[in-house]
Symmetry: C2
């Protein structure tokens, strides 16, 4: 889309084809979307059928970290080196056009194609779980009790390299047909935001344990905007 | 999970296996999640590799409707009868436990497995596009200019039957290990909600066109809660 050198993580499979002008291939844009989003949707093929499972993720430099129970089919497939597609989507608004046809959404999404790899080294696995907690709730890993040996053993951690990835971004108002701008129809954007509400203390919490700052004022990083 | 008769849309492939107690198989729960969510993530296999693409959806009775450009690879695959997995996820909160291990999220998700089918009859296609606009922004289809013949021809509409589907739901505080309840660690839920902000009028909007009520007070249906 631009005359800049083709980044390594851009391949024909990850080049945005539909509405190519929305394609973004710089790692800063890709990373900001990955870091703001809390969940991804992981696609894999099992028994010949595609499955899509939502899960927490954390970007750790040039790789995505996923985790869960050893019993998870998704993690077993990925740890076994299956092909995967990890898609992250942030919804920013509804775009109301004069014509039904030009209605749209403002969004920022990333598609990563690759193969998973199990993180098995105990120290690396422990570090990866710390990263997962910290990316979701910065500050939390210092407070929570760390994983026991049994908990570590029961958990599968998988990494997927960010080597084949692209972002797609839509912003701004609708692009209506020229003739439609004269229509007596309201047009514009309804912005959408994921907001954190007031923390709800656990009913079994002893009296006197204050809500930590990271929970009281929870926000996602918004480097992408 | 209950002694109720097995619904037709529940199959071994859609039976929740990980944490089976979170499985929900009644259509009321499934439909409420599908109706509240604005987007789904569609999984399909192309050239042997899984892809996951986010897109708007609308439930129309016992089927999901998707639409887009004829040039969309995802829609071409689905219109050609490819196997698909449509996953819808609503994020409701971050669950902070005393142990890192028991941290979780509150969410409501639906997984639908099936094959797409193109909606080709012109009248049915027009009706499907009306449903899509109305599900995203109730009231809007009466105001916006309807699709022209060319716009209809340029659009692919695909339906996926809700015949093999299940929901997974997590609510409430963490389930910590008994010994951990004595720890001096705050625990609870940070609720998350998708909120609509103040509508941003299109810069080219003529003076005097008021913001319609459906945009000024935009909310998603929340039958699932």
């Amino acid at each position: 889309m631009s005359s800049s050198p083709t980044p390594d993580h851009l391949t024909p499979r990850t080049t945005v084809r539909r509405i190519a002008s929305r394609g973004r291939y710089d790692r800063a844009t890709i990373d900001a979307i990955l870091d703001e989003a809390l969940i991804c949707h992981v696609g894999f093929v099992d028994d010949g059928h595609p499955f899509v499972i939502p899960t927490i993720h954390a970007r750790d430099g040039d790789r995505m970290l996923l985790h869960g129970s050893n019993a998870s089919r998704m993690l077993r497939c990925l740890a076994g080196g299956a092909d995967a597609c990890v898609t992250v989507t942030l919804l920013d608004g509804l775009v109301l056009a004069r014509s039904a046809f030009h209605h749209s959404m403002n969004y920022r999404s990333v598609v990563i194609l690759g193969k998973g790899e199990a993180v098995t080294d105990p120290a690396e696995k422990r570090a990866a779980l710390d990263v997962l907690v910290e990316r979701v709730i910065p500050g939390r890993s210092a407070d929570a009790r760390g994983p026991s040996q049994n908990e570590l053993s029961a958990t599968t951690v998988v990494s997927i390299p960010i080597t084949e990835a692209s972002a797609k971004v839509r912003t701004g108002p609708a692009s209506d047909d020229e003739a439609d701008y004269a229509l007596d129809v309201w047009a514009g954007v309804i912005p959408l935001t994921m907001l954190a509400g007031e923390p709800q203390p656990d009913p079994q919490l002893p009296i006197g344990i204050a809500i930590p700052g990271y929970a009281a004022c929870y926000r996602r990083p918004t480097g992408g905007r």
